[in-house]
Symmetry: C2
Subunit: 336 residues, 2 copies
DNA sequence: TTGAAAGCGCTAACAT
DNA sequence: ATGTTAGCGCTTTCAA
């Protein structure tokens, strides 16, 4: 590894090629008003010095970087990772570059501020546009296009959502078709559209079937394991425990299965279970878990695609794209 | 969403606070030579305008960004993702920010050039140091620290590697302990240290046990499915087929299992199989596959940790850190 | 304690 | 076809 005190700049190239910096800049940007030989000479010098123009300086001047930014709360959760995978795929397909910005997950009031901060950071300088994943806020002041994946609330910002309510309805109606009438629900995060609408779907489907809503059959969850486990236990220790449980995501569904096993119940013999999401981790723990496939990766891909279209003026802002969810029936449910 | 034609700059803040830009800059950088009241006023204006200083401009001037860069070939493969997860964790623990840079995976000659390009891009301007995952080249000219995860070859750049040879030896010696004497091997990418050293471990362990090396028992793989499948079929159609197969990664191991099933063999009754890597995908497809746990996430974490220590001068360059692999015995092997 | 001014590396007029 | 020059938004001397 060569260590250079000061990285080689455009000036160094200009000096070595015995031309002016603007000529080098022209070559760099493929302007056509440079003579063949100068062109060649400069390129050769660039190669020889293994020079790379500074993104910082470049983007500072010319508001165009060919880079798309992604702001994710973290990269620990499967959801974030899958979204990023999808974005990455799109980035390859459309020949953009990708910068992912992430810093610690904070759940306090600073979260929204940090998101705004990151968006400004990327959008103000480095990226041509940014994709924000499950943002806390939707109040971004930015000069460049923004696309949101799984927004917190409705807004006029272009977003990609999945058909959460439809998916939940499909899950519940599948359980109904198996003969279940007492169906429990472990909710998701109610501060997220995805959580709210899955709950809505659960309620709507029951209502549609003429089954009265029983608040006892609904227990809180947060898309994570521990709380869901407690909630599942509550559900199972009810005087009339449900014969089936629908969990707002599959991590919760796994918790339900754990709770059932701890209570000496077998899935699906004694209890049918469906989860929402279909992420690899859940499939790993419980490969036969019936789930709603949310196609998270596709959400990422679609978001990137939208952003690029926005960038190229092919799309109007204030657009919304839905990713259709579908039920994946495996072996964790059973007719009664 | 407020759309501002031009993002708010330090000048706007200065004007609104009726001070000079340098004063604002001082507040921004927590210099102590600013009066309480000016301090307060400026902060208030910053808040009000929801101003964020431009990373580009900032890093251009002051060679310190508190950002760590990661260059990964892609984010499709589990390996990359796991490394990034580990890095992300470290970033949270040490209060840095993280920028991940990725562009298309290319296997042609441009790959090395692109890597250098990305490193220069990050290190020249945006990041204080960078982590490079499975690089093709190790020839980076950069003024900032670099740490490599799973290097292609030995170099004087700090790197994190896992004990590939030891792991392979452990796997093979486990098979030997079960009574296997005819052990097949599906190799990994031989252009990577990891691939080479796993093969080395296979050979060394056999040699150590006094078993002559049989080239027919070694078939090529590339850490991916298709080639491994073909290779596995070759192995199984040998006059004296192996009683056990060790695959250089677990994707290949899955291919071996597929090939075995296609040939009407049962695992582990007719054939014992071990894979290297232990990634979620493989566990999902074949949860009972015996594997070497490479602790990929830990590699990422360790790399970030090293880089930060390097940044803080707590560590000498030219350091090497090994992540210890260990055998995870499940149910895909059987004594004969 | 504050302000003015000189760049950082680059691009985009404007000259030549 | 090429060079000169004026900034982009910021930090950092150097003065005041």
């Amino acid at each position: 590894m060569k260590r250079r005190k000061s990285p080689v700049t455009i000036k160094d190239v200009a000096a070595a090629a015995r031309v002016s910096v603007s000529t080098v800049s022209r070559v760099l940007n493929d302007k056509d008003d440079v003579s063949e030989e100068t062109q060649a000479k400069v390129r050769q010098v660039i190669e020889g010095l293994s020079y790379t123009s500074s993104l910082a300086a470049r983007s500072m001047r010319s508001r165009r970087t060919n880079v798309i930014g992604v702001v994710v709360p973290d990269l620990q959760t499967s959801f974030s990772i899958q979204v990023v995978k999808g974005v990455n795929q799109a980035i390859e397909d459309f020949a953009y570059d990708l910068i992912i910005y992430t810093s610690g997950t904070a759940w306090d009031g600073t979260r929204a501020a940090r998101e705004r901060h990151h968006v400004a950071l990327l959008n103000g300088s480095l990226a041509d546009g940014v994709i924000i994943v499950t943002p806390t806020t939707t109040d971004f002041s930015t000069a460049h296009p923004v696309v949101i994946v799984d927004p917190h609330q409705d807004s006029d910002i272009p977003a990609v959502i999945s058909t959460n309510r439809d998916g939940a309805m499909e899950a519940v109606s599948y359980l109904l078709s198996l003969g279940h009438r007492c169906i429990g629900f472990i909710s998701g995060r109610m501060d997220l559209q995805s959580g709210l609408r899955r709950f809505q779907g659960y309620q709507d489907c029951l209502a549609q079937a003429g089954i009265p809503f029983d608040p006892d059959l609904v227990q809180p969850g947060d898309f994570l394991g521990p709380l869901s486990l407690t909630s599942a236990q509550k559900l199972l220790s009810l005087p009339h425990p449900p014969t089936a449980i629908f969990a707002a995501n599959d991590i919760s569904a796994i918790a339900v299965i754990e709770a059932a096993q701890a209570a000496g119940l077998c899935v699906p013999e004694d209890l049918s279970v469906i989860g929402f999401d279909n992420i690899p981790e859940a499939a790993q723990v419980m490969p036969r878990l019936t789930t709603i496939d949310q196609s998270i990766e596709l959400m990422g891909y679609t978001a990137a695609e939208m952003l690029i279209e926005l960038l190229q003026g092919k799309l109007l802002a204030s657009n919304l794209r839905k990713i259709v969810t579908r039920l994946v029936v495996r072996e964790s449910c059973r007719a009664i």
